[in-house]
Symmetry: C2
Subunit: 398 residues, 2 copies
């Protein structure tokens, strides 16, 4: 028997427009994977009351979290590199010594598919336990057709086994593979790799930065992806003001991510193009860099998402409650804004209009918190705040 | 049967002098609550090998964490106040409206002893699960003999039931109770409260700050505590450069805590007096204030501890791995320094020479990590890194 009714909810919190609405003494019902009733318990239709039930005992409920930016399929271990970076070594020097993204490319290429899938599934399972019910996963550690396809095999395997919904993104334009001419690699992406793999993914992403793909190179890759009907994402203005956000806006991308060095005009362009700003505080934290002022970004009117950026080099985070705490305590967001960005914002950045809110017709992705208010997530940043997770209508065990 | 031997340790890490020493392929043995052997497994005496054993399967082991600054006995809930503070209300305005420490004083006075003990024990249990094996707990929400004694009853109850070691500190000079004349309260502390309760605690602490107790008032309280043979702790130079650290040094206090506004001369004085600098990054994080530059503090030669400062107003943290991650990622410490500060540093600040290191004669307080290196604690700041905890020789369940 599968529970299909949450009763005795102290309060549920759900994004509406750009704010958070709360409903007290509430109930939420679903049929299959879709919410079919949500509101004050006193108004619950009699016909729904006999469904299998989880009694929330006054706890708060929020929508399942949407983690819209991860690189969680990878091989190898870069903790030693992390320690050396803390000791003052530059990323460039570590990369020259075989570290950085290239170290993960080598380890991911070398690892058997099953081993990668096992490790990725473990990460996704921990994410789900912490309330994430939709996870975007990027390729980008293969950098050729064979190994990017292997990463997609891993993502498919995770999708088949994980209790949550997976959204695959092609990020073959993550770095230039060693020993391959830069012009030749862009030609190869445009003529061969993107066309070959486009039907296996929902999005195409490019690391647009003077240290990676130029605006012109990025545009060529993204334009061929758009022709293949993929949604577009851009790693934009992370290391410097390189023009990535402006490119994302000009192409009507679904998201522009990082944005550490984006200017106000860039944010304005993103707002006008309906491109979501995906902010990833873990990358700032792990690199000891200043955090993006997310309150100021929000203020411009652009839609904001927050995500883990789970990756082995610069942001080895797995849990959205921790990202929410960072967004509030380090990026200046209010708890309501951070909740919006972790749910509706993430869903909007993935162009998924069926989730990220608690409303009739939405996916039954729900998190029952331990306490009676979502502010606990930043009030107690090292706490375990998740009591139950319902993903696509199915309560996760534990 | 109680395990008394850890085998197959990939590496154990232990403070020695001011650095961290590591021993590979190691074993650690204990008898009762005391380590009686630690070193390379190849040298393990034959007579010890048949003890009940936990196989660490190559994992890393570190000393149990020492949380040397907490206010974890309290009643009430200040999450709403936290949310208002995030919204821009000043602490002073919230305090004037009945919030701040006084809100917790009122709620703690009103709560039954058993209720306070149940909540405090739950906090300590979560701390222990995360690897803390020694916890200092302060009074300071009673502010009269009856209610400070009630807090000590709670601390005693926690000590009796918790699996870890508890160190009680009298902090009746935490705030001035409402409706009591300031001169009269200091006289009362000196003549009545401290003498009445001194034999129930190990330390006396004072919140020395222009916004709380002046240097002169603090000195009077601490001097009577010293005469009662209590060790001294001082909340020093937190909100402004108020002279607390200099006072702590001049009185040979065991610790000076916070130190956000301490000057280099203050740190130098602490070093000369053998006073430990207890840094509490959670208070900076939760108040969105700049972090102390712990690397610079360490550089002065003063001994450094890090602690949760667990309290309902300004730092509702419970886990030392999270504090270690903040120390590394936000306060500039190296992973080795942070581990030192979370173990040996904490023990030194509590004047406990029998713990905070893995060596023969030390308490068998041990943490088996999930991974093979303690750098994981800051590399994956939202991870759960603790596999087993042994407190005073007893493996905790779970």
């Amino acid at each position: 028997m599968t529970a299909r009714l949450l009763t005795n909810i102290g309060r549920f919190f759900t994004p509406r427009d750009r704010s958070i609405r709360s409903v007290e003494d509430a109930a939420i019902a679903w049929d299959g994977d879709t919410i079919d009733w949500a509101g004050p318990a006193s108004e619950l239709p009699a016909g729904l009351a006999d469904r299998d039930t989880i009694d929330c005992e006054g706890r708060a409920v929020v929508p399942g979290f949407v983690d819209s930016h991860t690189h969680l399929v990878f091989g190898g271990d870069r903790s030693a590199e992390f320690a050396r970076r803390l000791g003052g070594e530059s990323y460039e020097s570590l990369a020259d010594g075989g570290g950085g993204i290239q170290a993960t490319v080598a380890a991911t290429r070398a690892a058997p598919t099953e081993e990668l899938a096992r490790a990725a599934l473990a990460r996704v399972s921990r994410m789900a336990t912490a309330g994430t019910t939709t996870v975007e996963i990027k390729t980008g550690y293969g950098l050729d057709v064979e190994h990017e396809a292997k990463m997609l095999d891993v993502i498919d395997a995770v999708d088949a086994d994980a209790p949550v919904d997976i959204v695959p993104t092609l990020l073959a334009a993550h770095a230039f593979p060693r020993g391959v001419d830069r012009v030749e690699y862009v030609r190869f992406l445009v003529d061969e790799l993107v066309p070959a793999l486009a039907d296996r993914v929902a999005f195409c992403d490019v690391f647009c930065d003077p240290a990676a793909f130029s605006v012109e190179e990025s545009a060529r890759v993204l334009e061929v992806a758009a022709k293949k009907d993929l949604g577009l994402r851009v790693h934009a203005d992370q290391l410097s003001h390189g023009g990535g956000a402006a490119l994302a806006a000009s192409l009507g991308a679904a998201s522009a991510d990082h944005l550490d060095h984006a200017a106000e005009a860039d944010l304005d362009a993103l707002r006008r193009s309906g491109t979501v700003a995906v902010l990833v505080p873990g990358a700032s934290l792990s690199s000891r860099l200043p955090f993006v002022d997310a309150a100021a970004v929000w203020q411009t009117g652009v839609e904001v998402a927050i995500a883990t950026d789970c990756n082995p080099g610069t942001s080895y985070l797995e849990t959205m409650p921790f990202v929410i705490a960072l967004a509030v305590l380090e990026m200046g967001m209010s708890p309501d804004q951070a909740l919006w960005a972790a749910t509706r914002g993430g869903a909007r950045s993935l162009r998924l209009d069926d989730r990220g809110a608690i409303e009739v017709g939405a996916r039954a992705d729900l998190v029952v918190l331990e306490g009676d208010h979502h502010v606990d997530l930043s009030y107690r940043p090292d706490g375990n705040h998740v009591r139950h997770v319902i993903a696509g209508g199915v309560p996760l065990p534990g």
